[in-house]
């Protein structure tokens, strides 16, 4: 399985949609990059908030709700900035609630369903460990606004990554059932990890200008960190699966549409609603 090429839509068939900018347009590229960053946070924040009131203990409920809040705060800053860069009068709310699924640029990992608590924590661990390293790089971005947001967010994400790693160890090194559930969670999420390190023309274009981070530059560190936590949990390495790509170009799993239905229903049904 590992030798098979990743599953992806060939670039030739994707073309440039109405909202896609040519890669040599700095503003269009920056807009798209901010959507990637902002949508990652927004979609995972929405996913985690589904747990509110459903977790097994109040402490876990609070953890998940607080992480969701941090992520939605990041999304607000990033998508507001994206709206300013685009210059068509859209703000963060407009971008969050009035775009359709094909216009979302988040990675596939964050839209995966919560499953049980172990699956949620497997996803959080794989994502937050990556996001912390990404934000550390972006804190030195040539774009001052991105640098400021990253500098602020990395402090919060460090907490997310530590909390998730603790749960991976606690469940992996727990009972037979908790171990099985954590392994099932990692098994589900592993095929979406390579997408986090996918570098396309847009990342390369912005990385050359010091705006974006080249994810390949911290891939080895990420794998080492993930491996160390899995070893501490007494778990095997991540299963080698055929990677699935496409989220950065708007090709999402079915799960995202259902998430957006819930998230976007109110502002779309009552567009002027305020409270």
């Amino acid at each position: 399985m590992a030798s098979l090429p990743p599953i992806d839509i060939p670039p030739a068939t994707t073309g440039n949609g109405a909202f896609d900018a040519p890669a040599d347009d700095p503003n269009g590229a920056l807009f798209d990059y901010l959507l990637r960053l902002g949508d990652d946070s927004l979609v995972l924040g929405q996913r985690l908030s589904e747990w509110t009131g459903h977790a097994a203990s109040v402490e876990v409920d609070l953890s998940l709700a607080n992480i969701a809040l941090d992520l939605i705060g990041q999304a607000t800053l990033l998508l507001d900035y994206a709206g300013e860069v685009e210059g068509r009068g859209r703000d963060g709310d407009k971008l969050a609630f009035h775009r359709d699924v094909l216009d979302f640029r988040n990675c596939l990992l964050v839209e995966q369903p919560n499953g049980d608590f172990a699956q949620t924590m497997a996803r959080q661990f794989l994502f937050s460990t990556w996001q912390r390293r990404l934000l550390r790089h972006l804190a030195g971005s040539a774009d001052a606004r991105i640098a400021a947001i990253a500098e602020k967010a990395v402090k919060e994400v460090t907490y997310h990554a530590e909390l998730a790693a603790e749960w991976v160890i606690r469940l992996g090194d727990g009972t037979e059932e908790s171990r099985r559930r954590m392994m099932d969670g990692l098994e589900w999420m592993a095929r979406f990890v390579p997408e986090l390190f996918e570098a396309d023309g847009l990342t390369a274009f912005l990385a050359e200008r010091g705006v974006a981070a080249d994810p390949d530059s911290f891939r080895a560190d990420y794998e080492e960190e993930v491996g160390a936590v899995l070893a501490a949990a007494g778990l095997p390495l991540l299963p080698q699966q055929r990677p699935i790509l496409g989220g950065r170009r708007g090709h999402h799993s079915e799960h995202l549409g259902h998430l957006l239905c819930t998230m976007q229903f109110l502002p779309r049904t009552y567009p002027e609603a305020v409270w």
Partner: protein
């Protein structure tokens, strides 16, 4: 807004007493350099009366989120990116400044450098402790009730993003710890 209401009423009452000086400082705002220091001091006094909406015993100055005060603007920085109190704080500051006659003073938000709990003032830390919240510390966490350092973490997240749940193993009381950030 509701929680900040009492402080705003106080400010309004004070404003009634010194309406003439408020009008003076507003007028002086139009003349370069005139009354600038007095304005800054007045604005600081207003800010000292604006409480944090989640932890009303400390003011926004105690919390260390006011980055700078000038005669024409106040620069604040959010604590946590997604903290809902951030928007309430900005509204409360706006209302308090307006009520005190500083209508032309702008409120600006700066993200960098990122806020840290090191900016909470010594007075703010003492007020937290007296209120039952252990102030942020890099050393042993002391129980705010009995002072014992024989304490343990129950949950890394508490009722707000900035706090964790702890418990004292001597007096057995649970308490909030303001996390180092």
């Amino acid at each position: 807004m509701v929680k900040g209401g009492a402080a705003i009423e106080q400010v309004r009452a004070r404003d009634q007493q010194s309406r003439s000086s408020g009008a003076l400082s507003a007028a002086a705002g139009g003349v370069e350099g005139l009354g600038t220091n007095r304005d800054c001091e007045g604005i600081r006094q207003v800010l000292a009366s604006v409480p944090d909406p989640e932890i009303p015993v400390i003011s926004v100055l105690d919390l260390g989120i006011v980055r700078s005060v000038a005669a024409d603007r106040v620069v604040i920085t959010p604590t946590y990116t997604g903290c809902p109190a951030t928007q309430v704080i900005e509204r409360d500051i706006r209302a308090a400044l307006d009520a005190a006659g500083y209508r032309s003073v702008r409120i600006e938000t700066a993200l960098s450098p990122a806020w840290t709990t090191d900016w909470i003032t010594p007075e703010g830390r003492e007020k937290l402790r007296a209120y039952g919240i252990a102030p942020p510390t890099r050393g042993a966490v002391a129980c705010p009730q009995c002072g014992s350092a024989h304490t343990e973490e129950i949950s890394r997240f508490g009722s707000t993003p900035c706090k964790a749940l702890w418990r004292c193993r001597d007096c057995a009381e649970p308490f909030d710890l303001f996390k180092c950030h």
